[in-house]
């Protein structure tokens, strides 16, 4: 019999998942659903920080990394907003409340809400499903309102129907103290009286002052032009954060596929400040 102690924690190996049960599903947009996940015996599966991710898996189908969209201040459950775009996500979209999946995590770093971002004025810029990781931060900030300065939220989507979490945005965020919400959609649409236009151009129109720290997430092309826009407004690289997504398998920086240069997105990221990104090779 083995006398070593190397097995003591093996059930906690990062590659071994926990079982999670889906306790709520909200259809956000035609192709985005938000899943509420709990431990089967109730309560949360784990604690996380805003910006962290978790691996969701449907056994036999596939496994992928998703950002946790609920705030850590939510003590009851975790939420994942998932857009239907591949094999796994299609499968997840067919699940019902009460179905089980496996979850492992949380993985990666987080937005520095307790350090660098503290006391700062925050500007959140999101496009489409890119709101998912930022929502975690926004709710965290709103729940710890006194620790942060002003909050501006610029959120755009293809159409009014594709705006994720619209209800929460309009009822909770828009009414919160010292929070400005700016919504935009790509094309004119009946029944929409808000702004029309792409996020980067709206950003320039809004002409934000540079006393803010920007947190950006969205499709790569949007990030690229938002970055240009922010630079034109006078923002420096140190004032801009974003979060990445690449193919991942292990989630702990060992399987070797999500690297950009010597940085592993799953371990050293997914949150990067733009001055860090500038040092990375252009392969993302």
């Amino acid at each position: 019999m083995c006398e070593c102690n190397c097995h003591e924690n093996y059930n906690l190996d990062t590659l071994i998942p926990k079982v999670g049960i889906i306790t709520g599903i909200t259809q956000e947009t035609p192709d985005v659903k938000t899943f509420r996940v709990n431990a089967p015996q109730g309560g949360k599966l784990f604690e996380h920080m805003p910006g962290q991710c978790a691996m969701l898996c449907a056994p036999g189908i596939s496994e992928a990394m998703f950002s946790i969209t609920s705030s850590p201040t939510n003590k009851e459950y975790q939420e994942f907003s998932i857009k239907k775009c591949g094999e796994l996500t299609s499968y997840l979209h067919d699940l019902q409340v009460g179905d089980e999946i496996t979850v492992r995590g949380p993985y990666g770093n987080n937005f520095p809400v307790d350090t660098e971002l503290k006391g700062k004025n925050l500007l959140f810029i999101a496009g489409g499903i890119g709101l998912a990781p930022l929502r975690s931060v926004i709710n965290y900030v709103l729940d710890n309102r006194e620790d942060y300065g002003t909050v501006d939220i610029l959120y755009g989507s293809r159409s009014a129907d594709d705006l994720v979490k619209l209800e929460e945005i309009q009822t909770e965020w828009a009414n919160a103290e010292n929070v400005n919400v700016h919504l935009t959609i790509d094309r004119e649409q009946e029944g929409w009286d808000g702004h029309v236009g792409f996020v980067p151009s709206y950003l320039k129109e809004l002409n934000f002052t540079t006393d803010k720290t920007a947190l950006v997430c969205g499709p790569p092309i949007m990030i690229k032009f938002v970055l240009q826009g922010l630079k034109e407004l006078g923002f420096t690289n140190e004032q801009i954060y974003t979060t990445f997504e690449l193919r991942m398998k292990c989630g702990v920086g060992k399987c070797g596929r999500c690297n950009i240069g010597s940085k592993y997105v799953c371990k050293d990221g997914p949150v990067f400040r733009f001055d860090e990104i500038e040092k990375l090779p252009d392969e993302y």
């Binding site: 079982v19 089967p40 392969e283």
Partner: protein, 343 residues
Amino acid sequence: MYKIAKENLSALFRKISETMGLYLPISSAGQTNFGAWAEDADVDLTTLKTVKSAKDTFFPQSENLYTCTTEDKKITVTPEKLQEEDFVVFGMKGCDVQGIEVLDRVFLSEPVDSFYAARRNHGTIVALACNEPENSCFCNVFGIDCADPKGIADVATWDMGDFLYWNPITEKGEKLTAYLSDLFEGADDTAVDELKNSIHNIVDKLPYSDLSLEGWGGDALDEKFNSPIWEELYKPCLACGTCTFVCPTCQCYDIKDYNTGNGVQRYRCWDSCMYSDFTMMAHGNNRTSQMQRYRQRFMHKLVYYPANNDGVFSCVGCGRCVDKCPSSLNIVKVIKAFSKEAK
């Protein structure tokens, strides 16, 4: 220092396998690879390099992680058992030993990979010096002395013709030596020193022994990454995974599911950054061209890995890629192409 007559080696192997596992180079269907010892196994200690490196013994090409069974929507996760039995890896060469050290820095860094860690805890490495290093060898470039394998090896041995000389290095090695002590007789170092000298003489004459790594390392990122040389170098690459699978330091893996009919078995298996689907996901792929994938492999070995690991290279100069690439591409050609450019 101890020694054992070569004809008693099978007694040694038998004794080891009485209480623990034993992996050593075994010839099967014309090729030598590390495999489990059995009474009728064709042990081959003369072939310089096994086709696959010895990393298989600690990081197998494929291993199960857990099994998921679903009943009435309820999922049960049953993790695979970790290595519990002690085992010995016999006959690892200096380069392979260093290869395991390279893997250690990946798998034993936080968060520790328990599957790998359990194997490392239970494994004892008996290294064997290379009597006649080959033309594709360049381990000396990475500071490895193939005449005196040390590093994380627990025991070093030398093939001296009629005798195998045996020198325990670590506590684990002492323990194994004590267990086998009946089979050994005492020996002095002089003969081994002579052999070491003659090996060093061969190493000095080998064509790759003066390869220079100047310019490589963790700081070389931009200059190397953006070099136009890659466009030239990658062209003959067939995008197979031979180099990665024979490499002692390549550690990339894939995690896959297999539906056995009684549950979904999740296993991990070696993967290769040379494969086109390596980084592919539903929304896109950040390394779409073979040039990018080719560059990734060598940048990882010579730049990214050293950047994360105190300047240690993720290549041990075993020369397996040199021997095995179907298109005769290899890390030496990459290093040479860059030093030529620098001139």
